[in-house]
């Protein structure tokens, strides 16, 4: 009974897969926040290196992974694919459950898959410092690790509520030599304006993005890096799904269902885009691709598909995506990494076109699933990842009813070793099941001429 399916280091993908090549029609272009006209490469050059801008817009199907990047990825890649025998047995399910374990990276999640290439391209472009934001701290620690390896300085604006809640993520950033600042801060105009408006704000990813973008735009030696949402970030994460496809082929299998949790969409994109490509090109028309999101911030299930800002202050381009509104500050639930008002434009498009679908869960049912997973497979997952676990368990239980032996694949995107206070809250019965009052909002939107 094989549990781990492993690839050799040399079987690690040499190219990323770009799903933009296989979309039924091109993505709607990002618009300039002021002119509302499509932006060009020059509009982004102040904060991104040219190679990443190229990757953002290209429709080439395959993009080479630089050897220097593969060299670093080798530290933990290829990551293992597990068959969840014990979980299957516990659920008494005829389904086969596989999970891709991304928690083996030094930062403990999938995030270094993109922080490494982003730091690399910035280093190549002669950039000295990178400014970024982080929600729960996963991205911040991953970028701190990457910038250290390529000799760059790193400034991280960490969402204030997480800064207080997750001190060890902050400590990791310090170990890897980065500076970590709670956001909103007094360091930027955007931060000062937000503090003036609301001194007690818990902060949000949207606010922290504004601060990091401003920092990058106002210093010539500094660029900006984003840990999710953007096309090039999703591109870098496709190593996950590409490896999975190879690993499943080794056991002569192919998924019926592919699952990931969704905040900005990058880990979901990572595991699912290669399979979405198979679906779009007709190789596997029936693969069911499912994004799992929190009921408190249900962007894909309850949001509107429209142009919206990616940040709070309005520095970023307008992106066509599912959004709850850039001024929405999601509640401080434990899956801080999923607290984002918008979503990857590519993921949004694929959901809008019916290539993928989404489900939303309340906190306590998500932790029920995480507990089941920890008590069967052993891994204590991050609260974000627990959403994917919940969706996988639900899909398996559906198979119990239909007696189908589906192959379910989910992205086990990160460990929860720094999230034990969330588990403590679960056991104390103090988890709050936040939800988004979408019916009230929709009714109002439908009947009020304009709602800001």
């Amino acid at each position: 009974m094989q549990t781990k399916i492993l690839l050799d280091e040399e079987q690690m993908p040499k190219q990323w897969y770009n799903v933009q090549a296989d979309l039924r029609s091109p993505l709607d272009p990002p618009l300039h926040p002021k002119t509302q006209k499509p932006i060009g490469p020059q509009d982004l050059a102040a904060i991104f290196p040219m190679e990443l801008i190229r990757q953002e817009v290209t429709t080439d199907r395959h993009i080479d992974i630089p050897e220097e990047v593969r060299d670093v990825l080798r530290l933990w890649r290829p990551s293992p694919l597990y068959r969840a025998h014990r979980l299957e047995k516990f659920l008494k399910t005829p389904a086969k459950i596989y999970y891709k374990w991304e928690g083996v990276s030094p930062a403990g999640s999938h995030k270094p898959n993109t922080s490494i290439p982003q730091a690399y391209y910035n280093m190549k472009a002669g950039v000295e410092r990178i400014a970024t934001e982080t929600g729960a701290g996963q991205w911040g620690s991953a970028l701190a690790f990457a910038t250290m390896l390529f000799g760059l300085q790193c400034t991280i604006y960490m969402v204030r509520s997480s800064y207080a809640q997750k001190p060890y993520r902050k400590s990791m950033m310090h170990v890897w030599g980065a500076e970590c600042i709670p956001s909103p801060s007094t360091k930027t105009n955007a931060g000062r304006a937000m503090l003036e408006k609301d001194p007690d704000t818990p902060g949000s990813l949207g606010m922290a993005i504004s601060e990091a973008v401003e920092d990058a735009a106002s210093h010539t030696n500094t660029n900006y890096a984003l840990g999710s949402v953007l096309n090039h970030v999703c591109l870098h994460q496709t190593v996950i799904g590409l490896e999975c496809r190879e690993q499943l082929a080794m056991v002569d299998d192919y998924p019926d269902v592919v699952i990931g949790c969704v905040g900005g969409g990058s880990n979901f994109a990572g595991i699912s885009f290669p399979f979405a490509g198979d679906k779009l090109t007709g190789k596997h028309k029936d693969v069911d691709i499912v994004g799992a999101e929190p009921a408190s911030c249900p962007t894909l299930t309850k949001g509107l598909y429209t142009y919206d800002l990616a940040d709070e202050a309005g520095y970023t381009p307008l992106l066509k995506m599912f959004t709850l509104g850039h001024d929405f500050v999601p509640p401080s639930m434990h899956a801080g990494g999923l607290r984002y008002h918008g979503d990857s434009p590519i993921v949004s498009r694929l959901v809008h076109d019916g290539v993928m679908r989404a489900v939303a869960y309340h906190q306590s049912e998500v932790f029920d699933a995480a507990q089941t997973f920890a008590r069967t497979e052993g891994i204590i997952v991050a609260p974000e990842t627990a959403h994917a676990v919940k969706a996988a368990i639900d899909e398996a239980l559906k198979c119990n009813k239909t007696n189908e032996s589906k192959t379910i694949l989910f992205n086990c995107s990160g460990h929860g070793n720094f999230d034990m206070s969330a588990y403590d809250a679960y056991y104390a019965g103090s988890l709050v099941d936040y939800e988004y009052p979408d019916e009230l909002i929709k009714e109002a939107i439908a009947r009020i001429p304009k709602i800001s």
């Binding site: 809640q165 929405f328 939800e435 009052p437 009230l440 109002a444 009947r447 009020i448």
Partner: protein, 367 residues
């Protein structure tokens, strides 16, 4: 050891069963109408549940105001601190409260109604924590435990540092008997609660400031208010904040109605409310659960009767509450007066707790 000042208002609740809507100054009349004292029996439920707590010293007035119940339930040690007249009055309650204050008790546990809470609060203010065993006719104040058994749990479990603010309400009894609810906020008392249930407050950053939460809720409700819909606003400071956001002044404990940004009616009674609804195409009711007791309907808003709920429709009831209050309200109840209607509320209710944020909360069966 915890020093517990224990006090019963022996006549509390007597007026209710015989339609007096309160017993202050009406003891004779209540007895004539056939009322029997019941506060002592309510108190004894709490006392019986405290038998195994060896960590308590009781200070109490003599006789029916406390000493008798403690003796009958064999609780000790007991120290008698005042000697009321045969027919105890509000004055005796105040004397006992003064003595509790002088003796430095950790908590005043009283059995009574709003009147008793008010009398004690007038003497001790925010200097001593108070907790009510519910026994009165009217219990609008948030200082009462949900029932006598829970009162015992709180007495055993509370730490001196785990106190919260809670409303002490003033209800004009004469006006109330005439079918008029004249109420006002009398003061904010310190009330113990079970710390174990809320110890993760640090996790939820935005909960820290209740005023801010009220503003966020108000901003959201204001945003989703629809033209030409009548909004009935229930009692409480959260609803008051919603009215303020709309630029209106709302009664704190009354039921008010607004439409198209205007105050249509204030402090409505059931009949006037019913008449008002007759001409309305569409109505929504905004309610907030009462204090730690968690009643969405049936406490402090009896004007919203079953027929009114049916007319408006349960789906048009919007429940709002600050995260702070919800944290201290582990269970929510509906007690509309019609048990079948109560069932129709279902097992869960969505409570608006912030700007575009809600919490899914369980509705429990009445204890």
């Amino acid at each position: 050891m915890k020093k517990i000042g224990f006090l019963i208002n022996p006549i509390a609740g007597m007026g209710g069963a015989v339609g007096l809507k309160g017993t202050d100054g009406k003891r004779e009349e209540a007895i004539v109408r056939g009322a029997v004292p019941q506060a002592i029996n309510r108190a004894k439920i709490t006392l019986n549940a405290l038998k195994n707590d060896k960590n308590l010293i009781f200070l109490t007035p003599s006789g029916e105001m406390g000493e008798d119940a403690l003796k009958e339930t064999h609780l000790e040690p007991v120290q008698v601190i005042s000697y009321p007249e045969n027919e105890s009055t509000a004055r005796d309650t105040k004397i006992a409260a003064q003595r509790f204050l002088e003796e430095g008790v950790d908590l005043i546990l009283f059995c009574g109604g709003d009147g008793t809470a008010r009398d004690i609060f007038d003497i001790v203010g925010r200097n001593v924590a108070i907790l009510g065993i519910p026994a009165g006719v009217k219990m609008y104040s948030g200082v009462f435990a949900i029932n006598p058994s829970v009162a015992a749990e709180v007495v055993t479990g509370f730490e001196v540092q785990s106190l919260r603010d809670s409303e002490v309400m003033d209800v004009d009894e004469d006006a109330y008997r005439n079918g008029e609810l004249k109420t006002r906020l009398h003061g904010i008392a310190r009330v113990p609660y079970l710390a174990g249930k809320t110890q993760f407050s640090k996790q939820i950053y935005e909960d820290s400031n209740e005023e801010r939460a009220k503003k966020d809720i108000a901003r959201f409700i204001h945003e989703i208010m629809i033209p030409d819909v009548l909004y009935i606003l229930g009692a409480g400071t959260t609803l008051e904040a919603i009215a303020r956001e709309t630029g209106l002044h709302k009664t704190l404990l009354g039921i008010d109605a607004i439409k198209n940004g205007n105050m249509i009616a204030r402090d409505l009674d059931e009949k006037t409310l019913w008449a008002l609804l007759e001409h309305e195409q569409e109505t929504k009711i905004l309610l907030s659960p009462i204090g730690a007791q968690g009643f969405i309907l049936g406490r402090g808003n009896q004007q919203i009767s079953p027929r009114i709920v049916k007319r408006v429709g349960i789906r048009n009831i919007i429940v709002v509450s600050t995260p702070h209050k919800l944290r201290e309200t582990p269970v929510l109840y509906v007690d509309s007066g019609d048990p079948v209607l109560d069932q129709d509320f279902g097992d869960f209710v969505q409570v608006i707790s912030g700007y575009r944020i809600a919490q899914r909360r369980k509705i429990s069966q009445l204890p």
